[in-house]
């Protein structure tokens, strides 16, 4: 009988964090680890920084709400180690009776910025410590709620006329973040070679 290919990270995690690692399972060849909410940031930082783990690429941050209303809402982190070519899925279960909050991992992986914004927009999970937590898929003043929650009706809460009215009233140019605006303002302060490259339309280095 073939052994389930549990990732080697699981015993290492249990050795390091003990009770914070709640359980693990293997599904379709993927290892899934459930971690307590309080130490989620520590666990993910350890997974990124420890030499044997090196999960330097955050593939995705998303959330799941199951049809059974008593199951908790889970925030899912899909990690990948580019050097070791290994995957790991870390889940943090959030009890729906309490506020849906978890620490942001933007300081660990910059890519988590927009990924967490999407999870916030669709599920209402607040990522504590996120520099710019606002809606990303729906418009910023969207008032109907969080669309991918199970108690959100498919067509939204408002009537179509109201949705159209609110959509037409939204200002599409108000979407820029403070960072993007400050970059635009600070164009003159950029180094000369960078300004030239931007003016030529180049993005980034090609070596």
């Amino acid at each position: 009988m073939p052994m389930s290919p549990v990732s080697a990270s699981v015993p290492a995690l249990r050795a390091e964090f003990g009770p914070a690692v709640e359980r693990h399972l293997v599904s379709c060849g993927d290892t899934i680890v459930y971690v307590g909410r309080d130490r989620s940031h520590d666990v993910l930082a350890w997974l990124r920084d420890t030499p044997g783990q090196q999960f330097d690429y955050l593939t995705d941050v998303t959330a799941v709400e199951y049809r059974d209303p008593e199951l908790p809402l889970e925030v899912v982190y899909q990690l990948r180690s580019l050097s070791r070519k290994a995957d790991l899925r870390v889940k943090v279960a959030l009890d729906k009776r309490e506020p849906l909050e978890v620490r942001s991992v933007v300081d660990l992986w910059r890519g988590a910025d927009w990924l967490e914004r999407e999870a916030y927009d669709m599920f209402g999970v607040v990522f504590i410590g996120h520099p710019d937590l606002r809606r990303i898929l729906m418009w910023e003043t969207y008032a109907e709620g969080f669309p991918l929650r199970k108690d959100f009706p498919l067509r939204g809460h408002f009537s179509r006329a109201e949705q159209t009215r609110q959509a037409l009233a939204a200002n599409p140019e108000a979407h820029y973040s403070l960072e993007e605006l400050s970059i635009a303002d600070a164009f003159d302060e950029l180094p000369a070679d960078m300004r030239e490259r931007l003016a030529r339309g180049e993005r980034g280095f090609l070596k």
Binding site: A161, R165, A170
Partner: protein, 209 residues
């Protein structure tokens, strides 16, 4: 008879517009000329959002070619366009954008709603999609399909040409700008709700089809 309406001349400070004319033989000849010119030189503003845009590009390319119908130049600036071809689904987030693009187009302008999503919301009857762009802008021709075949889009363009050829400059209401009203909507709210009503199987939210 003649080019000015005698009644208009007596209207005090009102300017006698060329539209305030009673139709006669001369106007029909002018109409013929104007409409022929307009119909055969429609410059499209391709408002392509999704899959229909791919079919639009295919229609514009060499095998099907809308240039032979006068759509030689794709006008990506609405200021220089005649027809807005909305090819693809429109999320509510994009609604103010298409409204602004439409408002920026000068008269005479027409619009083609290409595909099921632009015409009625298509398969996306949900919280984020506009259920037909006719709730946002006035539409002249609807082209059904998901996506419509290039032949289908060309048929729609030919229908629009036929519609244009049937217009008359004596009809003022044709070139009216239908702006977004003070209620924040371009149509009355009940009309928007009516147009957006689910139909067919999608009335039942719990079913998968």
């Amino acid at each position: 008879m003649g080019l000015t309406n005698p009644a208009a001349q007596h209207r005090g400070d009102e300017i006698t517009t060329i539209g305030a004319v009673s139709p006669n033989w001369v106007t029909t000849r002018l109409d013929f000329l104007t409409n022929w010119a307009r119909a055969n030189s429609l410059w499209p503003m391709p408002f392509g959002t999704a899959c229909c845009a791919i079919e639009y590009m295919a229609t514009a390319a060499s095998r099907f070619d809308i240039a032979r119908f006068g759509m030689e130049r794709q006008a990506f600036s609405p200021r220089q366009a005649d027809v807005l071809i909305c090819a693809g689904r429109l999320p509510f987030k994009l609604a103010p954008v298409i409204r602004r693009i439409w408002d920026q187009m000068p008269q005479p302008k027409w619009s083609i709603s290409m595909g099921a999503c632009a015409s009625s919301g298509g398969i996306f009857d949900n919280y984020s999609m506009v259920q037909g762009i006719d709730t946002i802008i006035p539409v002249d021709v609807y082209v059904p399909g998901c996506p419509p075949r290039p032949e289908g889009l060309m048929y729609g363009i030919l229908l629009l040409q036929k519609k244009i050829k049937g217009e008359s400059f004596t009809d003022d209401s044709l070139r009216d700008e239908k702006l977004v009203g003070p209620s924040g909507l371009f149509l009355p709210a009940e009309r928007v709700d009516e147009l957006s009503e689910p139909f067919g199987n999608s009335v039942h939210q719990t079913r998968s089809a």
